[in-house]
């Protein structure tokens, strides 16, 4: 299983990233991707910007750990995670999770697993900029519930 974890300010290209996963193996049958988008209504209205901070070094290894845990649990051939940091605007892409596998069922499960754990375990922090100033977000209860589902086995 090939894992690629990137944290960057620049945008990413979903076409390039999915083809890169496709080319990992000639056994590739399907690629499932999740693309997170900055919404303009996170916890309150009038979000004008989103600032993202991470813990250099730790965040990357947390993402790799999550990806390898997914690779142990399901039959996957390649996982790419790209998370943007810095200043973003509504409708910007913020996170890409791509999982390629021989059979699509594994790719769907592994992709959702990775994004669910990434949301609750990886060291990123979001600050919304609104017309009334900035505010650090708190973790959503629904994200904890999403991650906890994977423990019920």
């Amino acid at each position: 299983m090939l894992c690629r974890a990137l944290i960057q300010e620049d945008p990413f290209n979903v076409q390039v990233e999915t083809q890169r996963i496709r080319d990992v193996s000639n056994k590739m049958g399907g690629i499932v991707t999740f693309l997170g988008v900055v919404r303009d209504f996170n916890e309150r209205e009038d979000v004008q910007s989103l600032y993202l901070e991470h813990y250099p070094g730790m965040t990357e290894s947390q993402i790799e750990n999550i990806a390898y845990a997914a690779g142990k649990r399901w039959n996957v051939l390649g996982i790419t995670v790209i998370h943007r940091i810095g200043l973003l605007s509504p409708s910007d892409e913020i996170v890409f999770v791509g999982v390629g596998s021989k059979h699509r069922g594994d790719a769907f499960l592994a992709c959702e697993y990775v994004i669910d754990y990434l949301k609750t375990e990886a060291a990123f922090w979001k600050k919304e900029g609104t017309i009334n100033g900035g505010r650090w977000l708190s973790t959503r209860e629904t994200d904890f519930e999403a991650a906890n589902r994977w423990k019920q086995d």
Binding site: Y55, M58, H83, I94, E121, W125, L137, S138, T139
Partner: protein
């Protein structure tokens, strides 16, 4: 020395992203927090002992009053909100 890192709202509240403190006499996270409080003021104790504050030692989140020592990197931050 022990390297202390602060992230997100904790960094902003304490107006500092990293400090180094001598490791002498510091064997646990609680000792480190007391030392930081003495060095930089009560707000450090309040923020670092906050109910929602998480601690990582050498880039691994620890859940109790972990042992630490010379050369360790100790980070304090709020719950994560990525993705």
């Amino acid at each position: 020395m022990i390297r202390v890192l602060l992230f997100s709202s904790l960094r902003e509240e304490l107006n500092s992203s990293s400090v180094e403190v001598p490791a002498l006499g510091i064997s646990r996270i609680s000792c480190l927090v007391e030392k930081l409080e003495r060095l930089y003021g009560k707000s450090w104790g309040r923020v670092l002992k906050g109910e929602n504050t998480l601690v990582a030692v050498n880039q691994t989140v620890v859940h109790d009053n972990h042992h630490i020592g010379d050369g360790d990197e100790v980070a304090f931050f709020p719950p994560v909100t990525g993705g």
